[in-house]
Symmetry: C2
């Protein structure tokens, strides 16, 4: 008797605050979803038991599927080949944790892991805004700036599975110090946090500005800036223009360094990408070398499910080569 | 009867001033060499005939070999898959030239091409300072700054075969304008030309400085700075310290972006790498994130033959995957 249940993968997105699980079909569709607040202070054993419990929940709520395996997006740095989380700054006690082996033993399935930024990049590449390309740069702009690189039809991995530490690329000689300690990092000048701090410095509590009304006279966030700009506030529009210029400078570097077919932008600030598109394009046009100027910059389409769907694709796709060949020649 | 002649490849390094040819054994050894001043103003047909003539010269001077094919390092941008030179700025009339096809027809051999920086990177990776690694960044620092990236056991190719335009990565907000038109490019602040210009500005004709004595009161070059520093001149040593800091900032970006196992430095200024090693290491130590700090920076070992040997490796190696598997598991 053959097994005619549709194939699917169990996927996890292991974040410092939220742990999410889903059963994902080969089409990229989420069949069932569950989440919990991560027991980030409780150590690896407790979190792995949370994952086992969530696996039970999503499987109980999904139709009958043939489970091919388990994919996990986890905080980096991690070793994707060995399946080991090396040092997760947002999770207490997660040093040298053989997550693939330990979770695999508990679930009785093979487990593959990838760092969260790369998982989101894989999701957008295989099922989202980068579909059909062989090279793509995914940039997530929110509290920080992260990313994942698809090159030649597969995720870019260097030494220890690392690469694409986009946020800590120096792009200027002057900035407030980055949390990493350096000066001039892309993240230090262009993240959502940096934009919020600029907006906070450009206004004052009680000044009656649109920005401070939205923040109720507290610190202004990037979200407030985007909302105020959308309502036509000139100060917010000027702040977004400056933000667009920084993004354009960073993106130009990424074009020169990786030569992607498309740059896909995710993260909270991508909600304002339409307002910054002109500024980004103008900066790229002024700074990029000619063969790189016509590369599109697109907004990510999978939202905060990109990492989960990308984690599932570690199982559903087998490997990047196979998928990309399909996309190009299929 | 079997052919027991040793296998070899014919290789060309097509530069704007010099055209070089060699017969290269599978060990990377150059069996015969010839060169000519490139007929850069005469158009593609004339240069291709030069290549045919040089091929005859090296074959006449080499032992009997079994010729596997022809590899060419040529100015980029070019399309390595299609074998087409897209637009070579240093060669008149070289736009959309199907070099692999045209040279192949004249020589009766299959021809593969790669851009010159990538060819040099392949040479150093397979036969030089990067041997045995699966990921490497090659940086050439001379008049400009160029490079080639090995990632996951193969050369990094993005859209149109491009990638690794390292010299035009913005690393600072202020600099003299780069020849590309932008401000703050790695090349604009850290190339050999930039160092020479700094040294020229820091001295004056007739000031009796060691640097101006070496330049006979003309413009000071990077070579003069390295020579004077080696002789203990304090001004030259300070200039090299500043140069080392710029290189360290750029190299830190490359570590974050590509996560190589090694950075290999070639080009004229690599002659002074020993004098700058401390400054480069200190800058990387201060700016790079922890997992990236212990990556070695090594001087290239193949000198100006790297491109020629790398071009041969396009034929001798078949593809990067095969070679790297050998290097890792052989």
């Amino acid at each position: 008797m053959t097994d005619d249940r549709p194939p699917a993968a169990l996927a996890f997105d292991l974040g410092g605050t939220e742990l999410r699980a889903a059963l994902v079909a080969a089409s990229g569709t989420i069949l069932a979803f569950a989440s919990a607040a991560t027991l980030a202070k409780a150590g690896p054993a407790a979190v792995i038991e949370q994952m086992v419990a969530l696996a039970g929940t999503v499987q109980a709520h999904a139709p009958a599927v043939r489970l091919l395996g388990v994919g996990v997006g986890a905080p980096g740095p991690l070793d994707p080949e060995e399946g080991v989380v090396l040092d997760a700054p947002t999770l207490d006690g997660w040093r040298q944790v053989p997550l693939a082996e330990r979770l695999g033993a508990r679930l009785g399935r093979s487990v593959r892991i990838e760092n969260d930024a790369n998982a989101a990049a894989l999701g957008e590449w295989r099922y989202g805004a980068g579909r059909g390309t062989r090279s793509m740069v995914f940039v997530t702009v929110s509290t920080g700036i992260g990313g994942g690189i698809i090159a030649g039809g597969r995720i870019l991995h260097g030494r220890r599975g690392l690469a694409g530490e986009i946020g800590h690329m120096a792009i200027t000689g002057e900035s407030r110090p980055c949390f990493c300690g350096a000066i001039g990092c892309f993240e230090a000048v262009a993240s959502g946090s940096a934009l919020g701090e600029e907006a906070t410095r450009a206004t004052a509590p009680g000044d009656g500005s649109d920005l401070r009304r939205r923040s109720e006279d507290g610190p202004v966030s990037a979200r407030h800036v985007v909302e105020a700009a959308r309502a036509g506030d000139l100060k917010a529009l000027a702040l977004l223009d400056a933000e667009a210029r920084w993004l354009g400078i960073g993106f130009t570097n990424l074009l020169h360094l990786y030569s992607p077919e498309v740059i896909v932008v995710g993260g909270g600030l991508s909600n304002g990408l339409d307002l910054m598109a002109h500024g980004i394009t103008t900066t790229i046009g002024a700074r990029a070398m000619r063969p790189y100027r016509d590369v599109p910059v697109r907004r990510a389409t999978l939202g905060n499910h990109a990492g989960l769907i990308g984690a599932a694709s570690l199982i559903l796709a087998g490997d990047g080569e196979a998928i990309s060949r399909e996309a190009n020649h299929g």
